[in-house]
Symmetry: C2
Subunit: 195 residues, 2 copies
DNA sequence: TTTTCTTGATTGATCAGTCAATCAAAACTA
DNA sequence: TAGTTTTGATTGACTGATCAATCAAGAAAA
């Protein structure tokens, strides 16, 4: 039943399968055979479309990153100040992004980035964008040094809550995890007002 | 030059080598041959003393955990309230614990714990102890619900800063990472006093 | 001599990656 | 239209490399 124009369909199926496999296993230590099987094709086809395992894994990571990046861009569009920060937090704890499989995949990519320069570069770009996003929104609300620290803290809190989610430890639901970060933000803003 | 009583020496050397290897690689995906080589022995000897790879890795993790646990117990001994919380924070960002290799090893263990029940159990025990430690110290300082949230937040912040350390992102030195958590603690305490 | 420590060599399993062959739609031709 | 060729899609079978685990044998103390 081969038809023309299968390529984009297969690529997408393989990427989705890879993310799911990585998310379930919690690490990049998955076999091509597992991924291909989930996508309903042979390993040879995965190699045909992606070249090698690394390429497929990197494509999967780029997909996860682009997905979050897109959500983030849409969420902050036109927003300023505290509303903008709240939007950033909300996206990170949205049902779509805070899914256990996606969170686990993130953690796996973080680990891999430690010894893969291209992956680290990708993550660095995303981290920088998040940071400047937060900083831009926080600067009108507080002194520069405080804003920098707050941005740093929010980013770290999000990462920490992601880890704890992957381990099924910590706050069980997205809502209370998000509330915890919101609370941190409010504390910083209040402290600044009373100074 | 085999002598008697080598066992403890070799075990220790192999565990140290394993931690170093895991820390450098940033994941548990290290070979017995690598570990044994670092310890200056053959792979066969590693199997002789530890049975299998898993056992050695678990022993390494238990060692890292025991080390931090010991430091923690010593640090909080006799301390109460805010001093106790500060001691907990200080230990987590001490030069010994915040070393890049140790931090990377932690991250690797976190990842592995996602699909290893015994490892998850070990981590869970440690996490609980940390949590109740913080809670016990925070309760006199603030309302119960607030104390719980603060404990949750401090733990998540520490984890988040560990991740960022492993990725060489975020605050570069232990001091400013620790200061960030201290700042969070102070905000919570101040907010409580003014309510 | 016995016991403890140690290893080289080997085995078996797992996997990424390759390749030549198949299949079926699409495009072309008479 | 009917037949033929081309082309993209797809796979099973194979290869080579890596690695955990085993084992029987050797070397040095006791």
């Amino acid at each position: 039943m081969p038809k023309i124009g299968m390529e984009p369909i297969r690529r997408r199926a393989l990427i989705d399968a890879a993310i799911l496999a990585i998310g379930e296993r919690g690490s990049l230590d998955v076999t091509m055979s597992d991924i291909a099987g989930r996508a309903g094709v042979s390993t040879a086809l995965a190699h045909h479309y992606f070249g090698g395992k690394e390429d497929l894994l990197h494509a999967a990571m780029r997909h996860v990153l682009a997905e979050l990046g897109g959500d983030l861009r849409r969420a902050v569009a036109g927003k300023q100040g505290i509303e903008r920060v709240e939007a950033v937090i909300a996206v990170n704890f949205s049902p779509k992004q805070f899914q256990p499989e996606i969170v686990s995949a993130w953690l796996a990519f973080y680990v891999e980035a430690q010894h893969s320069t291209p992956l680290r570069r990708l993550l660095r770009i995303y981290a920088r964008r998040l940071h400047s996003n937060l900083l831009y929104a926080l600067r009108p609300l507080m002194a520069d040094a405080v804003a920098r620290r707050a941005a740093e803290g929010i980013a770290a809190l999000i990462d920490g809550l992601y880890i704890r989610r992957a381990l099924k430890d910590g706050p069980p639901d997205a809502a209370s995890a998000g509330a915890l970060v919101q609370d941190y933000l409010e504390l910083q803003v209040k402290a600044e007002r009373s100074s």
